[in-house]
């Protein structure tokens, strides 16, 4: 509701979040993806699309596109980093606490952003369950 200037960002986001926001890993699209997952809604201010290549139930490549705040971009980045090379079964075990731990936490009102990437991952892996 109120217009906020983001000059106090370091007290808002951890260094890890800002690092991933500035240099996101695995950003982009896979044209011939084996699986695509989506989560979020731009009306709410965040949306994510996840592209996967798989081989023998192992995630061989993964890319993401995200519209959203720094937290949404950073969580997208970390989820892709964590699942790359993993077996699908292992990837599905990933929890939001794992993500939050890796990011060194998120401001309270941003915690919901950590769900987004996991939802997109689950959506993508739905057919493999």
């Amino acid at each position: 509701m109120i217009l906020v200037s983001i000059s106090d960002k370091m007290s808002m986001y951890t260094k890890k979040v800002m690092e991933l926001f500035r240099n996101p890993k695995n950003m982009g699209e896979i044209e011939d993806a084996d699986a695509v997952g989506e989560a979020g809604n731009p009306v709410c201010g965040d949306q994510m699309k996840l592209f996967l290549k798989t081989d023998d139930r192992r995630i061989t490549d993964v890319k993401f596109q995200t519209y959203g705040c720094a937290a949404a971009i950073a969580t997208s980045s970390i989820v892709t980093k964590k699942v790359k090379g993993k077996k699908i079964e292992e990837a599905l075990k990933l929890t939001k606490d794992d993500i939050l731990e890796d990011l060194g936490g998120l401001p309270e009102q941003k915690v919901h952003c950590s769900f987004l990437a996991l939802e997109a991952l689950e959506d993508a892996l739905d057919d493999y369950k």
């Binding site: 509701m1 217009l3 983001i6 009306v43 699309k49 596109q65 519209y67 705040c69 937290a71 971009i73």
Partner: protein, 404 residues
């Protein structure tokens, strides 16, 4: 050219001017007296306080007796709204209704939230809508007056989109209805000439014009019940030992702002228009707020397919300090009520960027912002899954049912 930092968030706050700091300096340790004390040191403080009040009264062309120093714009707005409401409730004149307040849909949260609270106390509030440029709908405003209306309050100029309201007309209507009129002039004071015909109350904040934080002003020629009771300060309307150093600083900052107003208004409006024209060259962008009835220092543009918090943080990395009306930057996770009131979709509001100029900004800063912003917008759009693909868009156009 790379700048270390370009501050373009002057609607949020401004740095203290060195002339203001110098004027304040003696009142911290040397002339530290309490303006209520009878001794020399006390009277020294009292003189400084009353001289400051007279200085500001001259600038506003009002009676100094009606000026009350407060702690902030927020306090001044709370005081006039609650103070008027309490005064009317005390009178007990209105048997069925406690009283009705008229305001707009795009007020600052310290007006909106105070009105919402007054509603819980049995008062009634009408929020008058605005048009797509953010100008209040005068017809609806006029129709909103009732027999039990106790106050009309409409901001002079909006903090987010810079739209200037037809205050002269609104105040005249209220006066004809015999209702006191208040305007929150926090963003307008010292930036544009104010027309105070038929205006009964006015709110100002010091830190928006290179004065210190912690000082606000309420002008009121209409009765209100004080919020703070105590030692009879400020003519019994606002108890608490006066912040003399801060008030001296505010008066000095006001003097300087009024002296430089004409020149700065023209200079900043030129920079503003260059920024707007330059930013609108970016594809899928739009201006928020009125093109001409606009504060000389306000730029507010929405970019489709990107989210404002990311944009502000990326611009900060480039050394540009700005703000956004995106939900993600607010604690409530709701997009700006102002951008929604002018008819923007949630997505358009999420992609908004506000740049507000100040006296230290110059052509070089504008050039730097215009060189760097398109790249940052492009970078974020590259990342965004919501950006339509060119091929897909063409396909969609061909299969448009309207052309079949």
């Amino acid at each position: 050219m790379k700048f270390k930092k370009i501050y373009m968030d002057h609607a949020a706050t401004t740095p203290l001017r060195k002339e203001v700091k110098k004027a304040m300096e003696p009142y911290f340790s040397k002339k530290f007296g309490n303006a209520s004390s009878l001794h020399t040191r006390g009277q020294e403080a009292k003189d400084a306080l009353e001289e400051s009040r007279e200085k500001v009264a001259r600038l506003l062309e009002v009676d100094p007796e009606n000026l009350y120093f407060t702690s902030s714009g927020t306090e001044s707005n709370n005081t006039i709204l609650k103070g008027t409401a309490f005064k009317n409730a005390e009178k007990g004149l209105l048997s069925k209704s406690k009283g009705h307040i008229i305001t707009s849909k795009i007020e600052h949260p310290c007006i909106m939230e105070t009105c919402e609270w007054l509603k819980t106390q049995g008062f009634d509030v009408t929020y008058v809508p605005v048009d797509e440029d953010g100008v209040i709908k005068v017809d609806e405003y006029k129709k909103a007056f009732r027999r039990d209306t106790i106050l009309a309050s409409v901001m002079y100029a909006n903090n987010e989109i810079g739209t200037i309201q037809p205050i002269k007309e609104l105040a005249k209507i209220a006066s004809e209805k015999n209702v006191p009129f208040h305007t929150d002039a926090v963003q307008a004071y010292g930036k544009i000439p104010l027309n105070l015909d038929n205006v009964n109350a006015l709110t100002v904040s010091s830190h928006k014009l290179y004065g210190p934080k912690g000082v606000g002003l309420l002008y009121s020629d209409t009765e209100f019940t004080p919020l703070l009771h105590g030692g009879g300060h400020e003519n019994g309307k606002r108890a608490g030992t006066e912040n003399v150093a801060g008030i001296v600083g505010f008066a000095k900052a006001s003097e300087l702002a009024f002296k430089e107003m004409e020149r700065e208004k023209k200079r900043q409006a030129k920079l503003r228009d260059e920024l707007i024209d330059g930013l609108l060259e970016i594809d899928n962008s739009m201006l928020n707020g009125h093109e001409t009835k606009r504060l000389p220092n306000n730029v507010n543009v929405s970019f489709e397919y990107i989210e404002g918090e990311s944009l502000v943080l990326k611009l900060d990395d480039e050394g540009i300090e700005a703000s956004t009306g995106s939900a993600c930057s607010s604690h409530k996770l709701k997009p700006s009520h102002v951008l929604q009131a002018i008819g923007l979709s949630a997505e358009e509001a999420h992609g908004s960027l506000r740049l507000t100029l100040g006296k230290e900004n110059n052509e070089e800063h504008v050039d730097y912002v215009l060189e760097n912003t398109p790249e940052v917008v492009e970078e974020l759009r590259e990342m965004s899954p919501t950006k339509p693909k060119k091929e897909k868009k063409e396909k969609k156009e061909i299969s448009d049912p309207c052309f079949d």
